[in-house]
Symmetry: D2
C-alpha cells in the first residue's frame, strides 16, 4: 500500500494527511470525551476562527465538502427557493443533487461568467427578471460562489463584495464554497475577513480536507441567527459525529500558527512553478489564469501520450481527444514533481 | 486535554480510539491515493467482510451510525412507505428525523416489545392490519431491528429469523441497526452470518465507532441488487469521502484477526462484571437482562448522589428523580473502573 | 349512472353536490376570468370569511382536505419538526404520508385521548419530556387537532383553548383539521371564532366537500404572517388552480346566508335521530357520544348481516367480525333513510 | 360577475367551461357514489382512452396540469435523477419547483432548441456526456417534452419518435406534457397514438382544463408497470379526490364523440385566422410558426398601446418595452374577437 512512486496531480484530495494533523489526532486520543461536540477541542477551534476572522461567529465541523456546502445552503434556501451559481460550480456538477436534497427541492439557476467567476452586473440583471414574488416561479434565495473557483481563479475582495451587495439588494443570502479558501487567501494576500465577513458572505464552507487534513471542513456562520437551525439539520443529515473531537482536532491544528496558510502557500507556489513552465513550453497552453493551486492546460497529443504513460496521476477535463487536463498541486507537492511533469510535457 | 482521570460509562462512543486503529491510519497515510473509494484498502475491507459473513455482498464505509442506518433504509423504503421498528429504536428517538429525511418522508410505525425487542408474532398481527395496498395508508416497506438492542439485550438467531420471515411474508425488507453488532455476535457465540444473512437480513449497519474505531461504519448489502442505488444516495447525502482510505483503513484493521470481536468480548465481560456486582448490591437493580455491554440499573438515591459526585461519566435514563441510569462498557474499560463504580453504588 | 336507490351512510363525501353549489358554478361560468385567483369571486369568499370569523385573516381555496391539512401544516413545521396529533387523526391514518411529504420529512408524534380528543394536561406532560432543544430529537413544532374528531365528538371552545395554550407555552403552532368544522360549530352552538381564532388556532382547514360542495376546502390563516409562504407551497404542491373561480364560487355560495351551517345542522340532526334509535335498540350500542354527524356503533351479527344485504352503503370500523360500523349522515340524508337503517338494525 | 365584454386572448385557461362539460357535471350529480374513483364514470373515461389510443393503458384524473406533470415524472425519476427538458418548459419556468418537490429533489437539465422543441441529435450528444453511472453526477432519468410546445409549435410524430428513441437508447423514460395535446393532434391530423404510444412516450399529461373543462387532466400510462406506484404518489401529493366522479365526468364527456378535438380544432382555426391577419399586417410579425392555438407576435408600439387600452386580455412575453405578446385562442374564441384584435393591431 505504498504509493510513493506515484506523482499526484490528480487532486489535492488524493494527497496524504499532513504530519501535523496526524499528530493532532494522536494528541486528542487520550481518555474519554463526551460526544457530539461537547468536548474541549471543539470549543477551541471555534475560538481560533473568531480570531482569524476578527469577529463573532459560529463554526461547526463536518466531514465532507459537500456536507459543508449543502448544510450551509439548507439554512439559507427554502424548498421553493433558487440558488444562483456558476455553471461550473461544484454544487451543480459534482454533488449528485445534494443541494436539491438538503434544501428539500430548491433549484440551482446557472450563470455563465468568465474564468469560473460570477459577475455582479450580470447577476443583477438576471435577478431583476427572476420573477421574485411571482407564485409561479421559484424564489431567488441565495448566491453561492466558489473561492478559489473551479477554474483555479480567485475573486478579489471587491468582486465578492459587489456580488454580495447585489445579492442583498435582491434579498438573497450569500454562501461561499471555500473548499480551497486557504489558497485564495494566500493568493490575495488579504486577511481572511476581507473576502468573507467584510465582503458580505453569510455562510462559508471552509475547507481543510484538500489542504492537508484527513476529512474535515468547517461551516462558518457570520450571520449567527442563521446558525440556529443548522445543528438540527446537521444531525438529521447524519453529519453529527459522536467522536467529534477527531474532527475538531484536525481543525484546531489546521488553524494553529498559520498551518493552513503555510500549506496553501506551498501548493500555490508549486502551481505557479508549473504554470511558468507551461507558459514557456511550446507543447502546452494555459486555459485560465493560474491564481491558486490548480492548472488547466491544453497539451499537445504527444505530451498527452507521455503523461498517460507516466507515473503522474491527473484527470482530463472534457473529452479525452481534446487533450485538456487539470493538474492540482497539494501541500506536499515537490518542485521535483513539478519539474518531472514539465519534462514530460516537453 | 488529558481526561484520563475520568471513568467513562457514558457511552462506548466516549471512549478513545484503539491503538490498532490509530496504527492503521498511520500505515495508510503513505503517498497519494485516488479518492472516493478507488483505493486498495477500500477493496480490501470488503473482501474481509465476504470472508466473515461467508457470502458474496457489497459493503460501503460511512462515517456515522445514523448515516449507515438511514442510507441503508433509503434503498428499502419508498417515500410512501413505512418502517416497522421498536418504540425505543435509535432511528425513532435519536436521529432527529434522519430516516424521514433520507427516505423522502416515510413513516416509522412504532412497535412495543419486551426488553427492546420486536416480537415476530405481534409484528405479523400488526402487518396483517396495516392497510397494505390501500392507497390511503403508507405502505409497509421494511422492518428495522437493533442488534444489540437499545436495552442491551440480544436477539437470538431464531428470533431474527422469525422476524425476517414475517417481514418477507408481507413483502417487507429487513434492516438491522448493528451499531453494537460485534457485542451481539460475541454474546451469542454464533457466526456473524447466523444472525444476519442466514437469518434473512437484507441490509446491515455494521458499527465500528462504538467499538474502538474513530468514525466509521459499514453498510452491508447481502441483497446486492439493493446496493445498486446506494452509491448515488450516499453521494447525494454528502457521505462519500474523498479521502476514503482513512475510513476503509479503520474497517480493514477492525475486521483483521478478530480485533472487532476481541474488543466486544472485553466490553461485554466488563458489563457482565458490573451486572454481577449490581445483582449482589442491595442499592441497585437491573432493569433488563445484561447480554452485551450495556447495563441499565435503578439505583438508590444515595448511590445516585455518590455517582453524581464522582469522576464517573454516565447518563440518566428518563427523569433524574427516577434514579435509573445507563452504564456502558467500552473496549478499554478496566476491571478497576467497574469495581470503582460498584463501590460507589455500594 | 343513477344511484338514487342506494342509501348513503358510507361517508359525507359520497353524497352528491348540493343544488346551491351547482347553481353557483353555473353562475360563475360567464365569460373570461384571469386565472390563479385573480378573479372577483375569490376575493369575495375571503371577505365572507372575515365576517364569519370576526377578524382579519387570509384564506385560500384548495381542492382536497388532505391538501388543506398538509399545506397548512407545512408552514408551521420545519423538516426537523414534529406534529403532535391524536393516534386516530386523519393526518396519521388516511393521508398516505402526505404530512411527511409536505413538511419535508417531519414526524407525527401520536397521542392517545378519550373519544378521539387530545387532552391538554397529557399534552403538557408529553411536551415537557419531548427533548425540545436537544439536537438528537425532532423538535415539537405544531399541535394538530380535528374538529369534529374522527370519533364524531366535538371539542368545546375551552378544550381547544387549553390545548392551544399548552401548545403555545411550549412554542408550538396550532392547526385544526376542520373537514367537518361546520358540524362542530352547529353542535356547539357557538360562533365560528369561539373555537378557532379566539381559542388560539393559527391555521384552520375549513372543509366544504363533505358538506355539500363538489371539491373545495379553505385554508384559513388567523396568523397572517404564517400565510406568506403558503402561496409558494400551494403552487409547488400543484394545488394552485388556473380556473380558480370554480373553487372559489363553491366557497362563496357555501358561506352565504349560513348555507354551510344549514347543511351541517341537518346532517347532525339525522345523526342524532339515528343515535336515538340505536340507544333504544337492543341490537346495537353506541361507541362514542354522537355530537355531530357521525355514528359509530357495534351491532349484533344479525343486524350486521341485514345491513350487508341491504342497499345501505357503510364502512366497517376495524375487522369485519367485530361488527362495528361507521354511519355518516350528510346534507341530503333523509329521515326515511335513517329509519330504514334503524329498521334493518331492529 | 359578467365578464362577457372582455375579449380573452390571455390564456385558454381564462376561458369559461364548455356547456357540454357543465352538462356532464349536472348529469353525474345523482345520488351517492363511492369516493376516490370507485365509481362508474371513472371506469368509463379510462375505457374511452383505451379506444382513443388504441392500446391498453392506465389513466388517472388529477385537477391541475402541474399535478399531472409532476406526478407523472415522479414515477420515472429517482431523487438522484435528472430530467432533460427545454429551457422554456412549463416544468422549469412555471411550476415553482413542483418537479423538484415531487421527485424528492431531482434536477432539470435545460436544453436549447429552435421553436421550443428539443432536438434528438443534440439530446443524444448531451446524454453521451451526461456522466451516467458516475456517482458524482445526477443520473439522466427522463426526457420531458411539451406537445404543443410553449412556443405554439407542434412536434411531428417522427420528431417525437426520434427523441424517444434517443432517450431509450440512454435508458431514460419519456414524459409528454400534453396540456395542449388536443391542439397538437388536430394540427398534425394524426391519430392520438401516433405521437404518443407509437412514438415511445411512457407517460402523458393529457390536458382538458385549457380546452373547455373546469379543472381536470388525465395522467396516462402507456407503460402500465410504471403506473403501479402512481396511486400512492397521487394520494400522498393530496391529489386524490374523494368526490372523484366530478373529475371523471369532465373527462368522460371531453373524450366522447370527439368533443376534445372539436374544441381544439376551433381554437387552432382562430389562431390561424389571427396569424394570417398578422402576416398581412405591417405592424406585427410572428415570432414562431403558428401550428396550434397560440400566437406569439412582436407588434409596433402603436399597436401595443392600442391593445393595452382595449378590452382585450393578453400577456406580454418578456419585458414590456419589447412589445412582444402572446395571444391564445380558446374553444370559445370567435372570429369577431380575432378580427377585433387584428383591427387594433392595424
Amino acid at each position: 500500500m505504498n504509493n510513493n512512486h506515484l506523482i499526484n496531480f490528480a487532486s489535492d484530495n488524493s494527497a496524504p494527511v499532513a504530519p501535523e494533523i496526524m499528530a493532532a489526532l494522536a494528541a486528542v486520543n487520550q481518555g474519554p470525551a463526551l460526544g457530539y461536540g461537547n468536548d474541549a477541542v471543539t470549543a477551541s477551534f471555534e475560538i481560533r476562527l473568531k480570531e482569524i476572522f476578527e469577529c463573532d461567529l459560529r463554526a461547526f465541523p463536518v466531514a465532507t465538502g459537500t456536507a459543508a456546502n449543502v448544510l450551509g445552503l439548507s439554512v439559507l434556501v427554502p424548498p421553493y427557493g433558487s440558488i444562483y451559481a456558476h455553471r461550473l460550480g461544484h454544487i451543480e456538477i459534482d454533488e449528485c443533487g445534494a443541494p436539491e436534497f438538503y434544501t428539500g427541492g430548491a433549484k440551482i439557476t446557472l450563470q455563465d461568467g468568465k474564468n469560473g467567476k460570477l459577475d455582479a452586473k450580470e447577476l443583477d440583471k438576471v435577478l431583476s427578471q427572476s420573477g421574485a414574488g411571482n407564485v409561479h416561479h421559484v424564489q431567488p434565495a441565495a448566491v453561492s460562489l466558489t473561492q478559489t473557483t473551479e477554474c483555479g481563479t480567485v475573486y478579489t475582495a471587491d468582486e465578492v463584495f459587489a456580488i454580495s451587495e447585489t445579492a442583498k439588494a435582491h434579498g438573497l443570502g450569500v454562501h461561499m464554497d471555500g473548499a480551497r479558501f486557504a489558497n485564495a487567501v494566500v493568493s490575495l494576500g488579504c486577511a481572511p475577513a476581507d473576502t468573507t465577513v467584510k465582503a458580505g458572505v453569510d455562510v462559508l464552507s471552509l475547507g481543510a480536507t484538500k489542504n492537508g487534513a484527513m476529512a474535515v471542513e468547517a461551516v462558518v456562520f457570520f450571520n449567527k441567527e442563521k446558525a440556529q437551525e443548522f445543528e438540527f439539520r446537521r444531525k438529521r443529515g447524519a453529519h453529527l459525529f459522536s467522536k467529534m473531537r477527531y474532527l475538531s482536532a484536525q481543525l484546531d491544528a489546521y488553524f494553529t500558527d498559520g498551518l493552513w496558510l503555510e500549506f496553501a502557500r506551498h501548493a500555490n507556489e508549486m502551481a505557479s512553478r508549473l504554470a511558468t513552465g507551461i507558459t514557456l513550453s511550446k507543447n502546452a497552453n494555459l486555459m485560465y489564469p493560474v491564481e491558486a493551486n490548480m492548472v488547466f492546460t491544453k497539451v499537445s497529443s504527444e505530451a498527452m501520450t507521455n503523461l498517460e504513460k507516466s507515473n503522474v496521476l491527473f484527470y482530463p477535463e472534457g473529452p479525452k481527444e481534446a487533450s485538456t487536463i487539470r493538474l492540482v498541486a497539494s501541500w506536499n507537492t515537490t518542485a521535483e514533481e513539478v519539474d518531472a511533469v514539465l519534462a514530460l510535457i516537453g
